[in-house]
């Protein structure tokens, strides 16, 4: 397993550079929008990646509620963190594209609002994890993740009632896309997914190590005789 990590890292690096070339050079310039359309190759793959990560978070949370496995909790934490980052990328690149094309930075349209609400829910999820006292964090976070997932369809229907301004989804929406553009998009998505997996993986290992250290420290504090705690500790006021 450990050997797979550098392989994935190299693969991600190669894919990201290839995807960059595809998006900026190979893909044809869009007729009406011009070069600003190229942000599409970052905006859409980030959105897909973020949604996949939130999906994984939901299932990991359910798994934690059922089996109380620590691994499931770490997966949930990691995917939420990385998902929020990708979701932020979506929310930042969207307005950059929308300003020249729509003439406005932001509109309360279906997909925009849904993404924003999703982002808000997961930020509150991370805040909860940050603020709750350690022992109960995984359980409370898992419960909140379930609530957030239940909320998504309701948000969808509530905003669907307003008219939507966002361009229809290009894949499966009946829109026509130049095959070279589609290629660049899918390559970028693959690269971003690999990148997300890589970040999640290293964050996962970090979290495992952090919990090990916490556990060891707690154990040491229990085992150490009381007298040594009152003495000068090596990291304390020595010298």
């Amino acid at each position: 397993m450990k050997r797979a990590f550098p392989i994935l890292a190299v693969l991600t690096g190669v894919l990201l550079s290839y995807a960059l070339h595809q998006a900026l050079v190979t893909a044809p310039t869009e007729q009406t929008m011009g070069d600003v359309q190229r942000i599409f190759y970052y905006h859409v793959p980030s959105a897909w990646t973020a949604f996949i990560l939130f999906f994984v978070n939901f299932f990991a949370s359910i798994a934690y509620l059922i089996w109380r496995a620590n691994k499931a909790d770490i997966v949930a934490l990691v995917t939420a963190e990385v998902g929020v980052v990708f979701c932020t990328v979506v929310l930042v690149t969207g307005p950059i594209w929308a300003r020249p094309v729509w003439g406005i930075w932001w509109t309360w349209d279906l997909r925009l609002t849904l993404t924003l609400v999703l982002w808000l829910i997961y930020v509150s999820y991370l805040v909860l994890r940050r603020f709750s006292s350690s022992g109960q964090t995984p359980l409370l976070a898992a419960v909140l993740a379930v609530f957030g997932a239940l909320d998504v369809p309701l948000v969808y229907f509530s905003i669907w009632f307003f008219r939507t301004q966002h361009p229809q989804p290009v894949i499966g929406g009946g829109g026509s896309l130049d095959p070279r553009m589609l290629h660049a998009l899918l390559i970028n998505w693959l690269a971003f997914s690999c990148f997300a997996a890589l970040v999640c993986w290293s964050r996962y290992r970090l979290e495992v190590l952090r919990r090990d250290v916490d556990e060891t420290l707690a154990l040491e504090a229990l085992l150490e005789p009381r007298s040594s705690q009152t003495g000068i500790s090596p990291t304390g006021r020595a010298g």
Binding site: L120, F131, L154, F157
Partner: protein, 225 residues
């Protein structure tokens, strides 16, 4: 089933009696929403026509903030003398406690709304141009949506540091569809320009989904140690 019903009734009666004698929650909610009304009317200074457009938002923002004040006090009472711990070790079903708290908060917020509505009408010159009989339905469904999630998240934030801050941070993002529905439905009824039916159905769906979810998950939150 009967144990759930009788436990719910007992806890609810206790909470109502406590509230009746202290009037802590209702007084702080009333004063708070009064302040919100006054500050809003200073900052917008609306005419009757405008106020009809924005009143839905104003009313519900005021009630939302006021409800948070009450919700934060819900469980604080049970923390004193370790009542909640005692409840946890007792064989009583957790949902009975939860339901009692939700119904209690529902009653408090409804009383607040009944007292505040005349003030809103006076300050903002409101008159419903649409079907006014729908307003109580929207109020009841909306209040239930706020308190069922609010009570649940208040119980969750008991287990966190700085719990008073935590509750709105958890409650507001999840409540966005419900808030949107309340505000839009109220606006629709006040202006009479379009039907509020879709929003009422959405609110009802929200209530059903989150009531069931809370009843399923409350045991986890109560037992969290």
């Amino acid at each position: 089933m009967s144990t759930v019903a009788s436990l719910t009734r007992a806890t609810l009666a206790k909470d109502l009696r406590l509230e009746w004698r202290s009037k802590d929650a209702i007084n702080s909610m009333l004063f708070f929403s009064l302040l919100v009304v006054v500050i809003f009317s200073f900052s917008f200074d609306p005419t009757a026509e405008e106020s009809r457009q924005i009143a839905g938002g104003l009313v519900w923002v005021a009630f939302l903030f006021a409800a948070v004040v009450a919700l934060n006090q819900t469980w604080a009472r049970e923390m004193r003398n370790q009542v909640l711990d005692a409840y946890r070790v007792s064989p009583a079903p957790p949902n009975a406690l939860f339901l009692a708290k939700v119904i209690g908060n529902f009653i408090f917020v409804t009383v607040l709304q009944a007292l505040m509505t005349p003030l809103f009408i006076v300050f903002y010159n409101l008159r419903a141009l649409g079907p006014a009989y729908q307003l109580p339905i929207v109020a009841a469904l909306g209040t239930w949506a706020l308190v069922v999630n609010g009570t649940f998240f208040a119980a969750m934030s008991l287990r966190t540091r700085s719990r008073e801050i935590m509750l709105p941070l958890l409650l507001f993002p999840i409540s966005i569809p419900a808030l949107l529905a309340m505000v839009e439905a109220t606006g629709a009824i006040l202006t009479g320009e379009f039907s509020a039916r879709f929003w009422i159905v959405l609110l009802a769906a929200y209530d059903v989904v989150f009531t069931i979810a809370s009843l399923f998950l409350f045991a986890f939150v109560l037992q969290a140690e």
